[in-house]
């Protein structure tokens, strides 16, 4: 490359607590070049770009613009050096118009006149072929319009170095093509563009060179023309590493949770889950693979009853076959309902219909006595519909669904509470007393601390003070202690050291052996391949494949993760219109 270097990072390192987000990253981009930054989520792409754009400040290392070392301590510094970033999460003021957002922070020394700004914005938009009304308020806009405003914002400032964080994630293919045309025109104009993406076909289509990041490290930078998607995938996911996770063969496999056609959209109207269908089976670990943010989190939260769904069904098969019905989770009315559906029988095999041989209705008292005596059994597993149920309703139906959410301290646990109080989160309602019973949770806390070797001064230490691995042990320990029939875990080993990770793997396998349906969302493909029995791959909220984990290869999953683009693009097209 004979073009001069526009931007360079030297040994840039950034830590968040004990997590190393970027380690010693050396990167450079030339003038008039498009550099793609490729990597799985959590590999530190966005953190690195945020440091260049002045959102974070590096712990060590330096950033050079045009060969000169610069200090970028704020976004303003970044703008001064001609660096502009288009964030994945829009940084727009909802209450302002497009033009107001675009001109925000720009001080060109001229008098502020919104009419002139409107005209100028319209001119730039026209020049690059964007369609946007400068006077429209952001909160009235669609996602792609907001994206356009973000891009115009940087163009308006005339930045030389543009950073785009997954710009195509919210665009239709046509819009993506248009954007790429704009980017190419800017490249010809001598501008440098860094584009974060994990869509390989886009990398191949737009970039001059590709820098691959993995686990916070810069693996290599290669010229796009001299590489192939397969090679990039391998660099991105790494060589297969043998982990020696114990994986017994599943036995007594039965359907436990059947998901059909699940769809949901978020508050901004983006379709997060699109027609997801799969079955989680008892006695088996189902892995879910995908680039982070492809809808894994929403999928699990939807099943747990935290989201409103657009479409689809969630059916739970309660393992009740040949077990007596009790009043513990079932009301009298529910018993009669089940009887009406022909779900119940007596111990001796006769059907229980709530009537005697002569067809006369049995009295409530008689039925209650029979139930209490345990002579009325389920014929088969009870079918429960979980859709549109709140977490509390799900529990009251007797569904033992445990969920280890991705956000441990923001959702699964309360950081400022001690281990004992966190143990009670799910069980505190038990009993009629107005007082909480801390004895049982206290015992449980001791058991978990002891069995899982949680390192903590005492069970009365706020969990916030524990290290990541210990926090996770507490959370997983609690969820397992509820004796679940379905255990969902989202990124349970993220940020954990090797030993803690193996503890978690063993716990999940143990649950599988006990006949629990385990759903494991992971990011490390090696782990998924060695821990799971089946792997569901999703990309952009859609299922792109279900693989047998014993036969699948890393590359196979990697390609499915980065998208079976042709077919899904066509689908997206239809939806957008």
């Amino acid at each position: 490359m004979s073009k001069p270097i526009a931007l360079q990072t030297k040994g840039v390192t950034k830590r968040f607590g004990s997590v190393v987000a970027n380690n010693n990253v050396d990167l450079c981009v030339h003038r008039g070049e498009i550099l793609a930054i490729l990597g799985e989520n959590g590999c530190g792409k966005t953190t690195l770009m945020n440091m260049i754009a002045g959102i974070y400040y590096p712990d060590s290392g330096s950033i050079l613009v045009d060969g000169e070392e610069v200090v970028i301590r704020s976004p303003k510094d970044a703008f001064r050096h001609g660096i502009g970033m288009i964030h994945q999460h829009f940084k727009l003021v909802d209450l302002f118009t497009a033009a107001e957002n675009i001109v925000l922070g720009v001080d060109d020394g001229k008098k502020y006149n919104i009419k002139e700004v409107n005209a100028r914005v319209a001119k730039i938009a026209e020049k690059y072929g964007f369609h946007v009304d400068p006077k429209k308020k952001i909160y009235e806009m669609s996602v792609s319009e907001k994206q356009t405003v973000e891009i115009l914002k940087v163009l308006y400032r005339g930045a030389d170095i543009l950073i785009l964080d997954e710009p195509s994630a919210v665009l239709t293919p046509q819009e993506t093509d248009k954007l790429f045309d704009v980017l190419r025109r800017m490249r010809e104009d001598g501008k440098s563009i860094l584009i974060i993406t994990h869509k390989l076909h886009e990398v191949m289509a737009i970039s001059d060179r590709v820098a691959v990041l993995r686990k916070g490290e810069h693996i290599a930078t290669v010229e796009t023309a001299r590489t192939s998607p397969a090679e990039l995938t391998e660099m991105m996911v790494g060589k297969k590493v043998a982990l020696n996770i114990d994986r017994p063969l599943p036995h007594d496999v039965r359907d436990r949770l059947v998901i059909k056609g699940l769809s949901m959209t978020d508050a901004e109207g983006v379709r997060i889950l699109d027609d997801i269908t799969f079955t989680a089976k008892a006695g088996e670990i189902l892995g879910i693979a995908g680039i982070a943010g492809s809808g894994q989190r929403e999928l699990l939260e939807s099943i747990a009853g935290l989201h409103h769904l657009q479409d689809g069904s969630i059916t739970y098969y309660n393992p009740k076959k040949d077990k007596p019905i009790t009043f513990y989770h079932k009301s009298f009315e529910r018993v009669m309902e089940l009887a009406g559906e022909g779900m119940l029988r007596y111990v001796d095999g006769r059907e229980f219909t709530g009537k005697d041989e002569q067809g006369r209705a049995l009295s409530r008292k008689t039925i209650c006595a029979q139930v209490e005596a345990g002579v009325i059994l389920f014929k088969d597993d009870e079918v429960i519909n979980l859709r549109e149920k709140t977490p509390l309703q799900i529990r009251e139906l007797g569904v033992r669904l445990s969920f280890v959410p991705e956000d441990r301290l923001g959702m699964g646990l309360v950081g400022n509470m001690d281990i004992v109080d966190n143990m009670m989160l799910r069980s505190y309602r038990r009993g009629q007393s107005v007082f909480v019973d801390r004895k049982k949770p206290g015992d449980l806390a001791h058991t978990i601390v002891h069995d899982l070797e949680v390192v903590t001064p005492s069970t009365h230490t706020p969990v916030r003070r524990l290290s990541g691995g210990n926090v996770q042990k507490v959370l997983v320990g609690r969820e397992i202690a509820a004796a679940p029939t379905v255990l969902m875990a989202a990124y349970p080993v993220r940020g954990l050291d090797i030993n803690s990770s193996y503890t978690i793997y063993n716990l999940l396998t143990e649950q599988k052996e006990r006949g629990v349906a385990v759903v494991f969302v992971g990011e490390d493909l090696d782990v998924l391949l060695e821990l799971c029995d089946r792997i569901l791959v999703i990309c952009a909220g859609r299922v792109t494949g279900v693989l047998d984990a014993r036969n699948a290869t890393k590359e196979e999953i990697g390609l499915l993760m980065t998208g079976d683009r042709e077919s899904s693009d066509a689908e997206t097209d239809k939806k957008e219109e």
């Binding site: 940084k91 209450l95 001109v103 925000l104 919104i114």
Partner: protein, 319 residues
């Protein structure tokens, strides 16, 4: 004199007290800071202005010199209070409610202390002070005599504030800081600076309300005792006028009318009004403000909401 016109014209200067406090608080809230210290700030402003007047009253300087000095003194008093508030809430990220309430405790205390000390030696200084606030041609007995220099200054400040907020780059940036500081930061706006400047100027403007109320509207140093209540009405006015300085000019008039309606309506309408009606009428501004608050939260119209980051400290590296 037409009693209705008289009623209206008396309400204007009272409303101006609220107007100062309200415009000051709007600027602060637009930067995302709920300053509950406004009553204390108005008190301190009044005190500083009175001190300046007391020192200058025998100096023989003409009114057009003394008045600006008094106004500047009040403004400076407000700035000082604003500095304490913004240092605690912006730099030290302290809880805004607690800080604001402590400011009010402190400000009211300072005022009562200083004013009572002045009363011991100064006597009836207000008789001289009042004149400074009137235009020379207003010495007539017309009702307009109540509307002095600071009434027009207050309206001018409100109009300027409205212009700055809506029509200038600074205003755009300030609103962005209050709506979404992370976004403002990302485009290179110095969030800390804007928060400081808005809070300081807002406090300064609010402080003028204190001076106006003591020295012009009431014309008696004794009036410092009731400024605090005026301050809370100013905070209510901010919500009532949906964070718009130009609207707050009308709002302040309405609040002023309601405040004195109890004593005016009987003569105005020729009806016998029970004495207990006055407190109810004086309560009305607050009740109406609550209704406005509920209505805007039900309607959820984005333009009418409080600034989105109101009350939330901004810390860039929050993760």
């Amino acid at each position: 004199m037409n009693p209705f016109l008289d009623f209206l014209i008396t309400a204007i200067p009272l409303g101006i007290t609220f107007l100062y406090g309200c415009v000051g608080e709007i600027l602060t809230e637009k930067a995302g800071h709920l300053n509950l210290g406004i009553p204390g700030i108005m008190c301190v402003g009044g005190t500083c202005g009175c001190m300046a007047l007391r020192i200058l009253k025998n100096s023989g300087l003409p009114w057009f010199v003394i008045l600006p000095i008094a106004i500047l003194a009040a403004f400076a008093g407000g700035l000082l209070m604003g500095l304490i508030y913004s240092f605690l809430t912006v730099t030290l990220k302290a809880n805004q409610n607690v800080t604001g309430l402590a400011m009010t405790t402190f400000g009211v205390g300072v005022t009562k202390f200083v004013m009572s000390k002045m009363a011991v030696g100064g006597g009836m200084m207000y008789l001289y002070a009042c004149d400074y606030f009137r235009f020379p041609f207003q010495q007539s007995k017309s009702a307009l005599k109540y509307c002095g220099v600071m009434v027009f200054l207050g309206i001018a400040i409100a109009l300027i504030a409205a212009f700055v907020l809506n029509k200038t780059r600074v205003g755009l940036h300030l609103r962005a800081v209050g709506e979404n500081p992370a976004t403002a930061d990302a485009v290179g706006i110095n969030v800390t600076k804007y928060k400081y400047v808005a809070t300081l100027i807002g406090s300064g403007i609010a402080a003028l309300g204190g001076l106006f109320y003591i020295m012009d509207y009431a014309g008696s140093y004794e009036a410092y005792k009731s400024i605090e209540g005026m301050g809370w009405l100013a905070v209510a006015l901010v919500i009532f006028t949906l964070w718009r300085p130009n609207l707050s000019i009308l709002g302040s008039l309405l609040f002023g009318l309601l405040y004195i309606a109890g004593s005016r309506i009987p003569t105005l309408l020729g009806i016998q009004l029970d004495m207990s009606a006055t407190p109810l009428l004086q309560m009305l501004p607050y009740a109406v403000t609550i209704v406005v608050l509920i209505v805007i939260s039900v309607r959820k119209k984005r333009e009418h909401q409080p600034p989105a980051s109101l009350g939330v400290p901004y810390f860039r590296e929050e993760r």
